[in-house]
Symmetry: C2
Subunit: 422 residues, 2 copies
């Protein structure tokens, strides 16, 4: 990783993968087939892409029992503790319906209503992501969503990873289907014999899943399309190089396109981190991935002052920001753009990925400038409520009609006046 | 408008205008030209599309004075009162940063930060929309957005409608540019010599504006792409047919694609409303538009019971819902999907369009199932804040590392353990 004196405008932006023409065509075809042939299409694609023939798409009671047998008791306890922490945090986000009144009898309010049904895509492949289950299902439950559906591609044994099944069961999720890829997204959006459609689809996935989410958007709502993960560490000379290096690597191991950046006014620290990175890389199981990520999207930026370093951070608007300075809390007010902010040396990013309680679904690719991570808000919608009394209309009716006519909308004015007639 | 007994699944969905290939190409070309040539391109397109040559894109002090001279004092007072009402309502939506602590020294929170800069598109053409200024600018101000930019196409005199200028000045907006169409959206997204770029673009516009917003999405955030307006009236036999008809027409006059629907268990009411519609249509200035809208997208649905009527409403998920029944408030809990809910006979929809205080930017095309109208939330973003103490990491570090290894992410586990080393 190169050490650079910062000059000019910086950005973490990487091109958003929009897929090839072929991939887009394939996704459209899959969606059409699922709309036309329902479950039969799901079975066909599951055999084709996941290499298994399934009688039932549902996760069975036997599979659940097996999963509990596979995942060890201590790990189940950790999942439970993490779930409690995540729930405690997200409960603070829950918004309530409210109203206000005026002396003339007007009542105005905002009604918060949970979505009826949401779907969560849990990626499969070589790894298992129980944390993705926790981070998406718990806010939905806090919001009061009645129907929560999990879909995930089956492994070669025709089942889901045990840790995913256990995480879902611990949360009380009752609908879990063994189907992945674009076909799963199509089923959630349009429904099949087995899977009733949902209103909004959450969760990360590969390029086919991302393209399918884009394709069904409008029919249903979707969450963000996540880009590769990012970390920026803002540190001064008081920070420990070994800890910074370990955190940069924990981001880099995710994906060859992940981005790990250190911003510091200390050239000495920059050199020490560079050295640590080399040492720690040597023994890392996912070394090849991490190395490639650091090479392509890693950077160490050295600024003249700490204030300049903060400005660089705001320009980058990272998904994850770690602040390892002498007084991290006093910098909080100056940080305008970041998905999540980790303060101090003990707040290593994996603390937030799994356990502390905040959500790990965060805005990537510089979008922290204008968007937020996943919150309970994403699982509700708000309707305004307007009650106007006779008195209020008599008092204000003329003004309202005048405003309507100012905009050239005569029928609007007449709708008001129809009520004011003697 | 036909009276129908309801059967099967209903929907207000109309195809979303996605423009012709030619329009999309034109928009791309305009955006590219603005990126390349800045102000010169804005001037060129303004001359080409709006038919005026502008020396300065800014609204001048003279234009402001002229606007105040044109708009009469009484109307300015009405705009001020509406602005106060809208501000009072939206201030209730403002969210605050919060934090929670745990005994082990953990602090978790959510930092609410306003967006740095937003742009608002105010449509031009034959009409003037000062209400659009109020409904978009006030929530931005309540959120604490520092830089608010209005763009709007100049009229044949090379200026903006007086009522738009006055509304903006009353709110203290300091940046107002006479530029419209796709070129205005491009300027807001990428910036020119005169117009600094913003982070998010709000406001409705014609097909070119909508296509341009789609095109720059990603570079900046955008608000929803609004479809044609809708009203559903839920009424029983106690409602007045003349008032219902007037409200249906007030929606229908907006646009030939607007949708006005009555849902009622009363066949008698249905017939009476039908008759009233004919009478009131006769004298309406925008009769041709309203008639076409009613013909294409109007409907009167008659159900057996009021409960069935409510289910029809939930299925339609309308932008605006008026409830004109004997006891409207008691139905509020049963209404799951609607952008705004107007209760009782004095709460005619134009009350909400201009004056009561709730926002008139609302989800159309059935999207009230999963989305909300414009709120202060759209002008802020939330960053999670995580502070972990030494004690907290010592207590939970092992669990976090175990979770990371469960997901196959060794560097995550090591980042934690690096801190636990003696």
């Amino acid at each position: 990783m190169k050490i650079e004196r910062v000059q000019g405008t910086l950005s973490l932006r990487r091109t958003i993968e929009s897929g090839t023409e072929e991939q887009r065509k394939a996704v459209k075809e899959i969606i059409e087939q699922v709309r036309k042939n329902g479950d039969a299409a799901l079975r066909k694609y599951t055999e084709q892409f996941d290499g298994v023939r399934l009688d039932s798409l549902c996760v069975s009671q036997e599979e659940i029992e097996e999963a509990y047998w596979i995942v060890d008791e201590k790990m189940i306890e950790i999942i439970r503790k993490a779930a409690r922490n995540i729930r405690e945090y997200h409960e603070r986000q829950a918004q309530t319906s409210w109203f206000m009144t005026r002396d003339d009898g007007t009542m105005l309010g905002q009604k918060v209503t949970p979505l009826d049904a949401v779907g969560l895509y849990v990626p499969g492949g070589t790894a298992a992501y129980p944390s993705s289950v926790l981070m998406n299902v718990i806010p939905a439950q806090v919001a009061g969503v009645k129907r929560i559906v999990i879909v995930s591609p089956p492994n070669e044994r025709g089942t889901l990873p045990a840790s995913v099944i256990v995480a879902a069961c611990e949360l009380g999720v009752e609908e879990m289907y063994k189907v992945g890829g674009a076909q799963a997204i199509a089923a959630l959006a349009y429904g099949t014999e087995t899977i009733q459609p949902v209103d909004k689809i959450f969760g990360p996935g590969n390029i086919y899943v991302a393209l399918a989410k884009r394709e069904v958007f409008g029919q249903v709502a979707i969450d963000m399309i996540a880009g590769p993960s990012e970390i920026v560490v803002l540190a001064d000379e008081t920070a420990r190089p070994n800890e910074i290096a370990a955190d940069l690597l924990s981001q880099a191991e995710h994906d060859e396109r992940a981005s790990s950046v250190l911003v510091t006014p200390s050239l000495k620290l920059a050199h020490a981190v560079e050295k640590e990175l080399k040492q720690q890389l040597a023994t890392l199981p996912r070394r090849a991935i991490a190395e490639k990520a650091l090479e392509q999207y890693g950077a160490i930026y050295v600024t003249d002052t700490l204030d300049e370093a903060i400005e660089v951070v705001n320009e980058l608007a990272p998904e994850h920001l770690e602040v390892m300075t002498a007084n991290p809390l006093q910098l909080l007010g100056k940080i305008r753009h970041a998905g999540a902010i980790f303060l101090g040396r003990y707040s290593s990013e994996p603390v937030g990925d799994y356990f502390a309680g905040a959500n790990h679904v965060l805005p990537t690719n510089g979008t922290a400038r204008f968007s937020s991570g996943l919150t309970v808000d994403e699982f509700v919608k708000k309707s305004s409520v307007i009650f106007y009394s006779k008195e209020a209309l008599q008092k204000n009716g003329e003004s309202i009609a005048a405003f309507a006519r100012l905009e050239g909308l005569e029928a609007h004015a007449r709708a008001i006046e129809e009520r004011l007639k003697k």
